[in-house]
């Protein structure tokens, strides 16, 4: 499940980021120069659109890396 979601995230990252970013479960925002708080808004909008989900208030902020984000997406996919 996680790896499938990360595969789809790679496509979204390819669209949102101008520089190539290799998406791995360990990847976090401070490792990518482009990944600031503004792009974060855009990234989340794109993820919600692509997966047809809606994150709950505050929960994305609590994820520490892409792996946790993918797990969160999986949870939201389950109960949406």
């Amino acid at each position: 499940m996680q790896s499938e979601i990360i595969g789809r995230l790679q496509n979204i990252f390819d669209d949102v980021f101008l520089e190539p970013v290799v998406v791995t479960p360990q990847l976090s925002a401070h490792e990518v120069e482009e990944w600031d708080s503004l792009i974060q808004i855009s990234l989340l909008v794109s993820i919600e659109k692509a997966f047809g989900i809606r994150f709950r208030v505050g929960e994305v902020e609590a994820t520490r890396n892409v792996g946790e984000l993918a797990d969160l997406i999986a949870r939201r996919l389950e109960n949406s």
């Binding site: 669209d15 101008l18 792009i39 808004i41 855009s42 505050g58």
Partner: protein, 634 residues
Amino acid sequence: MMTRDSKLVTNDVLKKLLAEGKPDLLWQHLLCRSQAATSFDDLFLLSRIRKKAIAQGFEATPTAENLRLAMIGACSLYPLHELVDHLLSVAGSPAELFTGEFDAYVTEILNESSGLYDFKPQVVVIVPTERRCKYLGHLADPREHFEMEAVRIRSELLDLCQILHQRSGAEIVLCNFKLPAYFDPGPYRTRTLGSDWNFRKLVNLELGLNAPPYVHICDVEFLSSRRGGLMSSDERAWLESKQPCAPDLMVDIAKEITHVVRALRIGPKKVLILDLDNTIWGGIVGDDGVEGIEIGGTSPRGEAFRAFQEYVLSLTERGVLLAVCSKNDYDKAIEPFEKHPEMALRLDHFVSFKANWNPKPDNLRLIADELHLGLDSFVFLDDDPVEIDIVREFTPEVSAILVGPDPSDYVKQLQEARLFEPSNITLEDSQRTQKYKQESLRKRDVPSFTDLSSYLASLKMTGTISEFRSVDVPRITQLINKSNQFNVTTRRRTESEITRLIDDQNRVSFSVRLSDRFGDYGLTGVVIGAIDRSAPAAILEIDTWLMSCRVLNRQVEEEMMNEIARLAEKHSCTEIMGVYIPTAKNQLVRNLYPRMGFQKLTETETYSQFSYELKTFKPFQTRIEIVRRAYDAK
């Protein structure tokens, strides 16, 4: 130059242009894509592509000096400022931006030594939050309390604007308040000014109606209703990062701010120049003839062109000048304006009329010389993409708008170019004010009505009656073959049969058009009569008498009767004969003849015959002013 309608490329193509180092194409596509973008992630990505291109050393060619634009407000202004920065930049009006601290706009304005004043802004955008635009008392408070509170909020904001303007000289763009999309307090919201819904509307009205000329309202209420209340709100975005609204509404707000700011710097367009064939009527007048073009009530397409003409005409009320630039023979081109009854536009509405076979850019330059106006004040409209391209190529100062393919979209296409929006300056010029004054005096003459007759009088109806003319043949044929209810004989005829009636000496035929102070109803009534001269005294027999139901109860049939009698007398008839042929649908006119004063001669299930002795005729008095009668009688 703006190429609003050229094909939109994908993000991948943009990224490729960036990688390959093709700045000209990149800027052009960035502009098109940005103008078309409606979602936040889309526009935000475009903004980053632009920034990266600049970081790579691609120079955009700015067409204006950098504008010093400050944004302050009660919310986070990131990333709204990014979107505004981007849109101004791709549109050729790049700005230098100052962004205020979160919720610091009041102190930034009041504190004379704040960074805002150090920045020396030329334009300041203020984004307050609707969260503070609330009535805090009880929903059932007296109405004056709501109104006083709304005035207080309005004054507080406009006072801040005044201080800011006096200290900095800046023009101010003030965002008004988004309306809530929540149900609470239910339908009761409409009964009190204290509900958030009504209270914010009230404050927005107060702001708009009291804003001084240097305050330009960014109408967020309108923008959010256009996008949809639910899609405009995002409580999570406020809680997580103090965003003013849903990300997508930010796109609309940024576009509106950009539009208002650009309108401050760029002179208004003054002249709308129109192509003719398939632009203001359907078809090609040179091939189809004046009878063959589609305009007016004959068909939905004709009505669409008519509506477009009416909209164009309404622009002249805002001071827009109209001109024609068409590839046509001049004589052919002017014919519809002179002869076609359904045209809303007439020759005297145009300040210049170029119908010839010269290239359109040449004609546009000629018009500019004639009017002593710059090409940059021109908007040119055509349905032909080739002509639009040629105009953009050779007269790039002209804003060229491609319309089509559906004429019902033309009004929208012209409106969405947003080139003729009135400003407080153009609308308040003294001549207009004078005219408004005269009109408001005239309006006092309109009687209030308490009964049908005074209601009809208040409509100020005018009727135009004319013999059958070739331009009317399509509409007459259509009515004859479509009308079922107000139709005494339901006799159908083809277009060529109608055409033959025009010159038939033994026939008297006419059509009626009605208009009132709300508009034109077009050709809505038809009578065909035959003159029987075999009897010692001639008789007028009514072959066809029909009317469109949209003008029922307007006394049109009485005026038709008056005209029938007038024509009968003119042809020395002593009697009018009428027949009623019942169908499943024409019960409406079962008693038309008796109502008009006819005597019944015979009645069967399939046929009734009526007669009217002309010597007893007295014209009906109606509330319709007949401005023309058939066979050119006044």
